[in-house]
């Protein structure tokens, strides 16, 4: 296993079409990183798209400039990480502790449930005018 690190940054208006642009960015990320196991790519992409879709669907803008969606992708030789930024958005009512993923508990919103089931850790924080979700997934490159 060789040491390597790759970073990418994406930013766009939080509108549905941006989710497709982000998906294209993720596809390019995996092309640049051809040693990530396919199962990990699939799980990580799904979690990032779910989190970004939530920003588009639920983010409440602070003003007429609307919410911006930012995504920072980072891969090292031990893990994949995405920071999903909900920029210029109202604070969440509380520091949100995402639901823990009990596979039998379909009732608690499939999006957040999937995110929790697909990555290793999820944290949520507020910085300035931005809500940030950090998704991390342990993933070791194929030999």
């Amino acid at each position: 296993m060789t040491d390597r690190e790759l970073q990418r940054r994406f930013e766009a208006d939080a509108k549905p079409e941006s989710v497709n642009d982000l998906h294209d960015e993720l596809d390019r990320f995996w092309s640049a990183l051809d040693d990530v196991p396919f199962e990990d790519q699939m799980a990580f992409t799904t979690a990032v798209i779910e989190a970004a879709s939530n920003v588009v669907e639920h983010g409440v803008p602070l003003d007429r400039d609307g919410v911006r969606l930012g995504v920072e992708l980072n891969a090292t030789s031990s893990r994949l990480q995405a920071r999903i930024l909900e920029i210029n958005a109202a604070a969440h009512p509380d520091p949100l502790t995402p639901a823990t993923g009990d596979p039998a508990d379909l009732e608690s919103g499939r999006g957040l449930f999937l995110i929790n089931a697909l990555v290793t850790t999820v944290t949520v924080e507020r910085q300035g005018n931005t809500n940030i979700w950090v998704l991390s997934k342990e993933s070791v490159p194929r030999q």
Binding site: P61, A91, D94
Partner: protein, 110 residues
């Protein structure tokens, strides 16, 4: 549930009477969309006669807040009854939608 729109000069008052639930939520959305489309920027939803609100009603209020903010304005709520207060508190949404005691107070300090 019935909705009435009143132009109060510096703000628009939406008076909501009845139950804010899955039946009436789309009408609230349409009413506020129309007000914002017609140029209203500061909207106060008067809930004095709203005897009941569930999560669909709350979702509609948050959707209306988005529409108002995206148009460069804001939406506030006033005169909530006990049941509405209970739902706002349990969901912690009283931080995003803080209820004002009277309609006049909602934008008084802007």
């Amino acid at each position: 549930m019935q909705f009435a729109i009143e132009d109060r000069g510096t703000y628009t008052e939406v008076v909501a009477t009845g139950r804010l639930n899955m039946v009436s939520a789309p009408t609230l959305r349409a009413t506020v969309d129309e007000a914002v489309g017609a140029g209203s920027r500061h909207i106060v939803v008067n809930l004095a006669a709203t005897e009941f609100m569930d999560s669909s009603g709350l979702g509609a209020l948050i959707g209306c807040l988005k529409v108002a903010r995206q148009a460069g304005g804001d939406l506030r709520i006033a005169c909530v009854q006990k049941q509405v207060q209970m739902v706002l508190e349990l969901t912690n949404m009283n931080r995003v939608l803080a209820p004002y005691g009277t309609v006049e107070e909602a934008f008084a300090r802007d």
